[in-house]
Amino acid sequence: MAAEEQKETATLPKLTPFDNHPTPTSDVQHETEEILLEHLPSPDATAQSPYALNKSVHIQFLAKHLIKGLNARYISQDASQPWLLFWILQAFSCMGVVLDPDNCQRAIDKILACQHPAGGFSGGPGQAAHLLTTYASVCALAIIGRPGKGGGWEEIDRKAIYDFFLSVKQKDGSFLVAHHSEVDVRGIYCLLVVATLLDILTPELIAGTPEFIASCQTYEGGFSSSSFPSYDPHNPQKILEGSPRPALGEAHGGYTFCAVASWVLLQPYIKLLPPEAPKPSIDLKALLRWLVLMQGTESELGGFRGRTNKLVDGCYSWWCGGAFGLLEALGVGGLENAKSVSEEVIDQEEEALKGLKIGGGDWVDIDDELFNSKALQEYILLAGQAPDGGLRDKPPKAPDVYHTLYCLSGLSIAQHHVFPSTSKCKKLSEAWNPFNERKIDLGVSSEDKDLNASLRREAYAAILSWDEDIARASSYAHIVGGKDNRLNATHPITNLTMTHTEGIAKWAYGL
């Protein structure tokens, strides 16, 4: 008995060290770890696999919200109605659930009721247009909409969206999320996804935006919500070069995902900048370090936190875990970025990595993520699932539709390897249709015309160049809990399935 107990405690991971110096941070940290560790499967676990993803109860949870409605607790989300739909619909897509035509139409009608007459989509009918709900609306329409009258896509007023975007643009390259509202990088991400998917990207719209994004990177390596500009006293329209442009707020998982995804979406524009123009840059090494440090240790079951010294939370499975999926487009990690090195170096590496826990013999498997995807899946499966359906921040919290989606998206990103394929990008660029009959006149100046054409082509090719690693997709080796847990792959930038991303973009670009 005593021996057995000892054996059991010995297998429990050790708690985060606190140097016998307790503070409020370490107190809640330990409380959380103790709760999380209770969710480790007991060694005598019986038939039911503790690692099963209970899809059917999650689907019921979502269907209940979709059809019967959301209880009064969700009044706090009344200004996020397109989000509520997007979270539910995309969670369905992850699990391979398709809505029947009747409900599809009801969803389309609801989203269209949120379209603001002056451009963009609002949190609900009669509310003001907002960048975040514009993203949620367009993405929801990507899932449920279709070409043709009444299908939702043709009803999107793209010129009005563009005008709304320009109306919230600031001198420092940032955007207000809504009139009289705050600036933050979530809005920029939302704007860039929409502009790219709907073919309304122009140089004028995004001039100065890369510099703004870069200025939000903090000394920790992650990104903050925004930054503070200094303007030239002689030219108040111009940012003063070399002057302080401090980040407002600390590095944060949600903002970091949005900033990095924006940075990827801005690459076609940055590459088209004239060679003599100063190229804005970010510190990728610091970013990678910060991201990997957001992953909790064994005593946190490998979930992600959103800030240094904060608690792990299921939604950061996507915001931080998902950001790893983006790094490959920036030259960090993955097969396409692997350097070709000599045999001698490979031998040395093998020698150096010998004896590492997972590294072992198959370390050459460099398409693996740079985070611990197995541990992340375990966190979501063991701690993220609420017993009665839906996923959550952490136990013992109640599930909600937001956490349901971002836990599932995080699980998907940990199961699959979706990467930007250079060959696919090239093919798409070559198959470009310069005579898009759906193209809207956005009043691009004649001097920007050529640049705009290249920008549109490259942005289109880049966003659709993401591809699933076939070798990995055809095996279930990377899926914790086995093949029944498999989810659909999600696009690392849009967080739509690849099919839905492609569908609406090809429609908008007349391809």
Binding site: F18, D19, H21, T23, T25, L66, G69, N71, A72, I75, Q77, D78, A79, Q81, L84, L85, N103, R106, K110, A113, P125, G126, Q127, A128, H130, H180, S181, E182, T218, Y219, S225, S226, P246, A247, L248, G249, E250, A251, V292, L293, G296, R307, T308, N309, K310, K339, V341, E344, V345, E349, A352, L353, G355, K357, I358, G359, W363, I366, E369, N372
Partner: protein, 332 residues
């Protein structure tokens, strides 16, 4: 008028002239929110007002009622702001209301942004510092509160009345919780990111003061302090090797028999420290890697391996990545 909390707008004499607007007409929406009667009532009137464009004192009553039920209703905030300006309402009264709201709806973006709009017009930033400090005593890591404080300092940029006591404030916050990363970020913001404060022109001296050795010695396994240390060295383009002797003390198990030489630059870990400290091992590996030769990479690799197999096993893939990158960089 009665207190009005329970009274629906539909039952109020002064709203008789307004016809509330349904949210969804001829539509049976999916994923409907099951509103309370009070919320449905107030937002119906809000949609009508937003449509008619009315800006009047009663709009302030209406938007306040909505915000109290849903502080995330950004359109109500936006419309309220426009109304305040349009009717030239006394902004100090509004700010008082915001003092109450900030405590009640601490997590809302809008509470802090609205405050920022008001203070931009009123231009009285000094009392704000005390208010923010008070709010942080309720929620010491609130993202919006901290960014509001940073905006306030940068926007009004007053050395004597705003910046002067900011470092003392940071010290107080860190004394309460040395692991509060928001406070560490604020420290970086004050000392480094937003320019050079009055009296801080001697950067070498400032850097020496900021090296955080005392903080690390107090609680060595504190990621915030290590990130700050790395951050300031990078910011000042100072090599990590400059603090290697200090860092080494934390990469080995505690040794009670060791005779420490009293040196303020090299405060040793105490007996209660959990050693070795993964952050110190990582730091030392970076020191070795920065040496840039094969020998340095070899020593760094040994440390990365110890992280991967023993001290920081969750990040095994990352440590492998670092080993590969380093080996490849000395080859080419």
């Amino acid at each position: 008028m009665s207190e009005g909390r329970a009274t629906l707008f539909a039952d109020r004499e002064e709203w008789k002239d307004v016809e509330p607007l349904e949210q969804y007409e001829n539509l049976n929406p999916l994923a409907p929110i099951l509103y309370t009667p009070e919320y449905k009532d107030a937002t119906g009137y809000f949609r009508a007002i937003a449509k008619s464009g009315e800006k009047s004192p009663r709009v302030l009553v209406l938007t306040e009622a909505i915000i109290r039920m849903n502080p995330g209703h950004y359109s109500a905030w936006q419309y309220r702001y426009e109304t305040l300006l349009a009717i030239d309402a006394p902004l100090d009264v509004e700010l008082k209301l915001m003092n109450e709201f900030a405590v009640k709806y601490l997590k809302s973006y809008q509470v802090w942004h609205h405050r920022r709009l008001l203070v931009t017009i009123m231009r009285k930033p000094i009392p704000e510092l005390a208010f923010i400090t008070l709010s942080l005593s309720e929620d010491s890591k609130n993202y919006h509160t901290w960014s509001y404080r940073q905006w306030l300092l940068a926007y009004f940029n007053d050395e004597e009345d705003l910046w002067a006591k900011e470092l003392d404030f940071v010290e107080r916050m860190l004394a309460q919780d040395i692991r509060n990363n928001s406070a560490w970020h604020h420290r970086f913001f004050v000392v480094w990111a937003s320019g050079v404060r009055d009296g801080e022109e001697d950067r070498e001296r400032v850097l020496k003061r900021e090296l955080t050795q005392q903080s690390i010695s107090l609680a060595p396994n504190n990621a915030s302090a290590w990130n700050y240390l790395r951050g300031i060295l990078n910011h000042n383009k100072v090599a990590f090797s400059s603090v290697a002797e200090f860092v080494k003390l934390y990469t080995v198990p505690y040794d009670a028999s060791r005779k420490d030489i009293v040196d303020v630059d090299l405060p040793p870990p105490g007996p209660s420290a959990d050693l070795p400290c993964a952050a110190a091992i990582e730091f030392l590996a970076d020191v070795y890697e920065q040496e840039g030769d094969k020998d340095g990479v070899q020593r760094a690799t040994e440390l990365w391996k110890s992280l991967a197999t023993e001290h920081d096993t969750i990040r095994v893939k990352y440590w492998e990545h670092r080993i590969r990158e380093a080996l490849e960089s000395v080859q080419s």
